[in-house]
């Protein structure tokens, strides 16, 4: 008896609970159409409070200057740039899920991509704040743009990685926004057509751009998503590569290494997936979307975390080995004295980084741990703490003791306004995320419907029956279909 296999039985269903199309719309639109829960209000208000503190901190910095921060002669980049790199890294997972996994035709991305893309956009907004306010005279921020000015015109330095950053981050933000919103249009149209209240019809009517679901439009939409994914894939790699160039093209010991681009990109995806886990483990529970963001989704993402975490681990060790093998005494000093040495002023941060990023994800080799929500949540926080310390280690431990011992500033400690700025971006990020989860579907409706017949558990059940059916019987039943 031959078996006909439609799809690999190894792959578990991506949509549980025997859904049909209408049920999917109901489930995913419910959080948007229902009144926000008490948990939502508490979360939202706390986020707004953090945001307000952030605004206060930034205001202090604008009024009194960057002297409000404990940056000094050698530690010119401290908390602010650490946070910038951290946030921008977090954004990368969203693009990876939406673009790279689209190109690789990974069906599981559909459950998590919309929320992850939203996370990207909010994270990039948060990241962008740091270099902007770090400028000090923020009213002159437009000087970074090559506009015809009255000073010659004197153009910006196109050879500088800092200017590449301006282009990379703004392009990344624009493309992510376009990708996210163009995918959102059909789902917003669903909300519009379900709307009963006047303001909903108005709001979603405007936001859906007049989408009808015409086949020709879908054909163009598919083409657009595919090309945008193709563009976003090298883009996301370029963005963190360029961020790493900010460091790698300088001659600061600890920064001047060629390993930085791949190392930064892997780290970015690592921390981004951790943030996706943090958000989704909570979102699926609070919004009751466990049948769409299944344990399978959590499991695969944990596999990516262990993969990228191990790449990051190899990068740390390679960097360390080369620092010793390269026999440059300044480089080796940066590693041996500023990082490896636990009793040095900031040596502890290196070991927090190692512990959180390299050792702790190894727990995910155990399947039971990958599928445990509490462990996943705890690990996702731990990884993001570790990745924050990675950036802190790279930036601060490299510059606080440089070539000239008389200029060493052995203890860099952020002021309340530096910390407040960082907490404020958390407020900004979560305020945006709470609003997004209230007003837009957190799961890509159309894409879930698209994979339902292939990867829903309904289909899997039907296929199970077909699998045991003899070939001859199957042929008899279906042989007249193709004339249709």
């Amino acid at each position: 008896m031959g078996l006909i296999r439609y799809e690999s039985q190894i792959r578990p269903p991506l949509v549980d609970g025997g859904k049909d199309y209408h049920q999917i719309s109901e489930d995913i639109c419910r959080p948007v159409e229902a009144k926000p829960s008490r948990a939502w209000w508490i979360g939202f208000i706390v986020s707004v409070l953090f945001l307000c503190f952030g605004i206060l901190s930034v205001t202090m910095e604008v009024i009194y200057g960057t002297g409000q921060w404990n940056l000094n002669k050698t530690v010119g980049w401290g908390y602010d740039i650490t946070n910038f790199v951290w946030w921008i890294g977090i954004g990368h997972a969203g693009t990876l899920i939406s673009a790279i996994l689209l190109l690789f035709r990974q069906g599981w991305r559909t459950g998590v991509n919309r929320a992850a893309e939203a996370m990207t956009i909010f994270a990039v907004i948060c990241a962008g704040q740091f270099p902007i306010w770090h400028m000090g005279r923020v009213w002159d921020a437009f000087f970074v743009l090559p506009y015809p000015n009255t000073r010659g015109p004197l153009w910006v330095n196109f050879n500088s990685p800092l200017l590449w950053d301006v282009f990379a981050i703004s392009t990344y933000f624009t493309v992510s926004l376009l990708f996210w919103y163009s995918g959102l249009i059909p789902d917003v149209a669903t909300l519009r057509d379900r709307a009963k209240k006047k303001w909903r019809k108005m709001f979603y009517g405007v936001a859906a751009f007049g989408w009808t679901g015409s086949t020709k439009h879908w054909q163009r939409h598919e083409a657009l998503s595919l090309v945008l994914a193709g563009l976003a894939t090298p883009l996301v790699l370029s963005v963190h590569t360029i961020v790493s160039f900010d460091f790698a093209t300088s001659v600061v010991p600890g920064w001047h290494t060629t390993i930085f681009p791949p190392y930064f990109v892997a780290g970015a995806i690592f921390s981004g997936f951790a943030m996706v886990q943090t958000l989704l483990v909570v979102t699926r529970k609070v919004l009751g979307l466990e049948e769409y963001i299944t344990i399978e989704h959590i499991d695969v993402m944990n596999k990516i975390i262990i993969l990228t975490g191990s790449i990051v681990g190899i990068a740390y060790l390679t960097e360390l080995f080369i620092a010793w093998y390269g026999a440059n005494e300044y480089e080796w000093f940066a590693f041996r004295q500023n990082r490896l040495n636990v009793s040095s002023p900031l040596g502890w941060s290196y070991w927090i980084m190692m512990g959180c990023n390299v050792l702790s994800p190894q727990i995910f080799w155990i399947k039971k741990m990958r599928r445990n929500l509490l462990v996943t949540f705890f690990m996702s926080i731990l990884v993001n703490v570790g990745m924050w310390f990675e950036r802190f280690v790279i930036i601060v431990t490299s510059v606080y003791r440089d070539y000239l011992p008389s200029a060493w500033s052995t203890y860099y400690r952020p002021t309340i306004w530096e910390v407040g700025f960082y907490l404020g971006t958390f407020g900004l990020f979560f305020t945006c995320y709470f609003l997004f989860s209230k007003f837009f579907p957190v799961i890509a409706l159309a894409e879930i419907k698209h994979i339902l017949k292939r990867s829903g558990d309904v289909q899997k059940d039907r296929m199970d029956k077909l699998e045991v059916q003899p070939n001859e019987e199957f042929a008899e039943e279906h042989s007249h279909d193709h004339g249709a």
Binding site: T171, A189, W211, V227, L235, K453
Partner: protein, 196 residues
């Protein structure tokens, strides 16, 4: 205006829709459009739509971005105001690659999205007449355009025979206009005013 008459049938399974589309075309009816809640691969081919050229447009935007970046940077740094950065050559192409790449991607994405919106008539405050609001939820809607020669009753029963549910004859505006979805607009009346 362009208010036309359509025969509209709804399907609740794409497996029924596919053969129906082919048979309708074979029978010589003019398919105005098929509205679906999600993209159905191969439906465009079945309906006889040609491939979209959006990719080509994207490529053209991309090379415009490349040319803009390379052209502008080389003009600014070698001709307009050559500056000596650390003794490096004025024409330092490798250092310009990151910005060139970013502008290529930026031009291509923005251009493609705008072109997409233009081709599909998508914009805020654009309003269109919808046959059935459930076509963004769970039904697949086939609309046949009634010409002078179409026998409405025959078309209705033909669609029913192909598995369509809830088949009806409907008059709808085919084009878009500026409007809001929370306001009902009676376009028929407007038409008369324009005609008068």
């Amino acid at each position: 205006m362009a208010i036309k008459k359509y025969v509209v049938g709804s399907f609740d399974d794409e497996a029924v829709l596919f053969p129906a589309v082919k048979k309708v075309r074979k029978a010589g009816y003019k398919i105005h459009d098929v509205f679906t809640p999600f993209p159905i691969h191969g439906l465009d081919k079945a309906m006889g739509l040609r491939d979209t050229s959006l990719h080509t447009a994207g490529f053209l935007y991309a090379i415009t971005g490349t040319a803009t970046a390379l052209g502008f940077i080389s003009w600014a740094l070698t001709y307009d105001w050559p500056l000596n950065f650390g003794g490096k050559p004025f024409f330092s192409l490798p250092a310009w690659i990151p910005i060139t790449f970013e502008l290529t991607v930026l031009f291509s994405s923005v251009g493609m999205v705008l072109t997409f919106c233009y081709l599909c008539q998508l914009a805020p405050f654009v309003k269109k007449d919808h046959f059935n609001l459930r076509s963004t939820d769970d039904i697949f809607l086939m609309a046949l355009e009634c010409t002078d020669k179409t026998n409405d009753a025959e078309a209705v029963s033909f669609l029913q025979s192909l598995g369509a549910k809830d088949v009806k004859v409907d008059r709808k505006e085919a084009r878009w206009w500026l409007g809001r979805y929370d306001k009902e607009q009676i376009l028929e009346k407007k038409t008369e005013e324009v005609a008068a």
